[in-house]
């Protein structure tokens, strides 16, 4: 453990800065989408369909990353699609973390019947294929941002509940919890002021991971045509379209895929990086 400490820190640093940098770019681009996007993401022009990106022969100025079959600007659609992706990531991720962590904390710390009920629910949830479950839920709830968010929270709370329950159980067995009891703290207070700070780094890392997952779920739902609405620019929708024209216009698939790839990777690496960087116990 003692050797290579410096190189690990350097690696953690690079990871944190690179992923954080990309996420910042995505955030800014989404926030200022109306100003940045060179074209109207919904404007169709069948005359300039499947234009290649700027460095390929046969392109038209203003369409940096080319156009799709309907002549819509790929770059503009990626920028606007980022807005939806980020909304889903932030709202769904946070809600999932809140619901799942609370249940996990209660189950792991209080044990007893609360644990039995929550664990049984987790068991049942784990027996559902998550992707199918989310598709089913959105089909039931109807398409739209709200449905997607609800579907993600309903499906993914178990990720937090399982991990946080185990963590809370580990922490609950530590003597500092007994020390709090000897001092006279109530169970609830002990959970909030002693256990919670110790599981918080895990929650933060999971939250960041969950944001990436939420974006993927949204993309999957768009891919099977169940996301927001058919013409709204979403990365998943673009990918679904690009998949069908992959041999004629690869850029329709590749560019949104790169955006999705980098964002998902960044979210997961950012969370791990944060945890390694700001956990006083690990440092």
């Amino acid at each position: 453990m003692l050797d290579g400490r410096g190189s690990i820190n350097r690696r953690v640093g690079a990871r944190l800065w690179l992923s954080g940098g990309w996420l910042l770019i995505v955030c800014l681009a989404s926030a200022f989408a109306p100003m940045i996007a060179p074209q109207d993401p919904l404007a169709q022009d069948l005359m300039s369909g499947q234009l290649p990106p700027f460095w390929v022969h046969g392109t038209e100025p203003g369409f940096w990353l080319g156009t799709d079959s309907l002549g819509r600007d790929v770059l503009s659609r990626i920028i606007w699609g980022g807005r939806i992706a980020l909304q889903v990531a932030l709202i769904a991720g946070t809600l999932t973390a809140l619901v799942g962590s609370t249940l996990g904390l209660v189950a792991g710390f209080y044990r007893g019947w609360a644990d039995r009920i929550i664990s049984r629910l987790v068991d049942i949830w784990m027996a559902f294929p998550p992707v199918l479950f989310s598709i089913l839920l959105v089909a039931v709830l109807g398409t739209g941002l709200r449905s997607i968010i609800i579907a993600i929270v309903v499906i993914d709370w178990t990720r937090f509940a399982r991990v946080i329950r185990a963590e809370a159980m580990n922490q609950g067995a530590m003597d500092y919890v007994a020390a709090a009891q000897v001092a006279g703290f109530s169970r609830q207070r002990t959970m909030l002021t002693e256990i919670l700070p110790n599981v918080l780094p895990t929650i933060v890392a999971l939250l960041s991971l969950e944001m990436g997952i939420a974006i993927i779920v949204e993309a999957i739902l768009s891919f099977v045509n169940l996301s927001i609405s058919t013409d709204a620019p979403t990365w998943g929708g673009m990918i679904a379209e690009g998949r069908t024209t992959i041999y004629q216009a690869w850029w329709v698939l590749v560019f949104p895929l790169i955006a999705l790839f980098l964002t998902v990777l960044s979210f997961s690496q950012f969370g791990e990086g944060l945890k390694d960087r700001f956990d006083p116990v690990l440092r």
Binding site: S7, A127, F128, P129, L132, I220, V224, I239, F261, Q269
Partner: protein, 336 residues
């Protein structure tokens, strides 16, 4: 005795879980706003036709009543009739299941091979650049889900270097009248290795997409667990006896390090099977998952229920097997 007791208790618990799944899926699909009957009606159908069809599919009764009728049927092996395909659900599910099982098993094998090899290599060369490299690769593989891997593979091996087919389970021009739905196994048994190769070429990318995240998890867990085991006194003791490092890893550490990895691999394998739903869609692979999405799109309630229950049975069976394997491999439990 202990193993048997353990098995029975787990079986009971599994039954409760499956019942819970049945209740939830039944309730959720009943709330589907789209009217499945409307889709089936020919133009100009009368209200009487609607009533007749509703009665045929039992949709005129209350939800609890419907549940009892359906559940009673399920207990007798009758999962109802698909609304969109007009065939018994059980037959449809069993017809598609082998394709998904072959895919998932192939993916599991790939994941174990890749993950196991990377863990052993990383531990053998721990503290060197090789370990760092494997860590970085695992970290990346882990944070990219199967859906994205599928797309990346399509671009690399389907378009840039077109080595493999990007859609379907088998080339349509290959004529072979299969007796079973287990094409891969059957082609091997019948010594039609050209067919086997064709099947594998179709399976390679979806299986790899599913395998990579699991491989990364196995790689990381096994490495961690091996490294911890390698610090234990019995491993140190074996070193002082004169065994080589590789021998110490394989003989002393591996078996004990596998146990903690095994449990988590079981859970992760169920995630992998869940991932077949979208990966099959991506590669137009004719398995259960692909059919499931069609069923949702068509609001085919009996079929959705049947498929979800089928997945749930597979998941709980996987967990049960893992649990029993763990008990069987753990000397503490075996000889308690």
């Amino acid at each position: 005795m202990d193993l048997l007791a353990r098995f029975l208790i787990r079986l009971f618990s599994t039954a409760i879980t499956l019942f819970g799944v049945a209740v939830i899926v039944f309730t959720v699909v009943r709330v589907v706003p789209g009217n499945p009957i409307a889709m089936m009606l020919p133009p100009g159908a009368t209200p009487a036709d609607i009533v007749r069809l509703k009665a045929l599919y039992g949709l005129d009764k209350s939800i609890p009543q419907q549940f009892v009728i359906w559940f009673w049927g399920v207990l007798h092996g009758d999962f109802g009739t698909s609304i969109s395909l007009r065939q018994p659900v059980l037959g449809l599910v069993l017809g598609r299941l082998p394709a998904t099982l072959e895919l998932a098993t192939m993916a599991l094998v790939m994941a174990i091979l890749i993950g196991g090899a990377s863990a052993l290599t990383a531990v053998r060369f721990r503290g060197t650049q090789i370990e760092t490299g494997i860590d970085v690769a695992n970290g990346a593989a882990l944070s990219i889900p199967d859906f994205l891997w599928g797309l990346l593979l399509i671009i690399f091996f389907g378009v840039l270097i077109p080595l493999f087919s990007i859609s379907g389970r088998i080339s349509p021009d290959l004529q072979l009248n299969f007796e079973t739905q287990f094409y891969l196994i059957e082609s091997i048994v019948r010594l039609r290795f050209d067919v086997t190769a064709n099947l594998l070429a179709h399976m390679f990318m979806p299986a790899l997409a599913l395998a990579l995240p699991l491989a990364a998890i196995i790689g990381q867990l096994l490495k961690q667990s091996l490294k911890e085991t390698m610090e234990l006194d019995y491993v140190t003791l074996a070193r002082t006896k004169g065994y080589s490092e590789t021998r110490v890893i394989l003989r002393e550490a591996l078996r004990n390090a596998i146990l903690p990895t095994l449990t988590l691999t079981g859970v992760q394998f169920t995630f992998l099977i869940g991932g077949t739903v979208i990966v099959e869609r991506l590669f137009s692979y004719e398995g259960l998952g692909n059919m499931a999405i069609d069923a949702v799109v068509n609001r085919d309630l009996p079929l959705i229920q049947g498929i979800v229950i089928c997945f749930a049975v597979i998941f709980t069976a996987v967990n049960l097997v893992v649990d029993l394997t763990y008990a069987a491999l753990n000397p503490r439990l075996r000889h308690a």
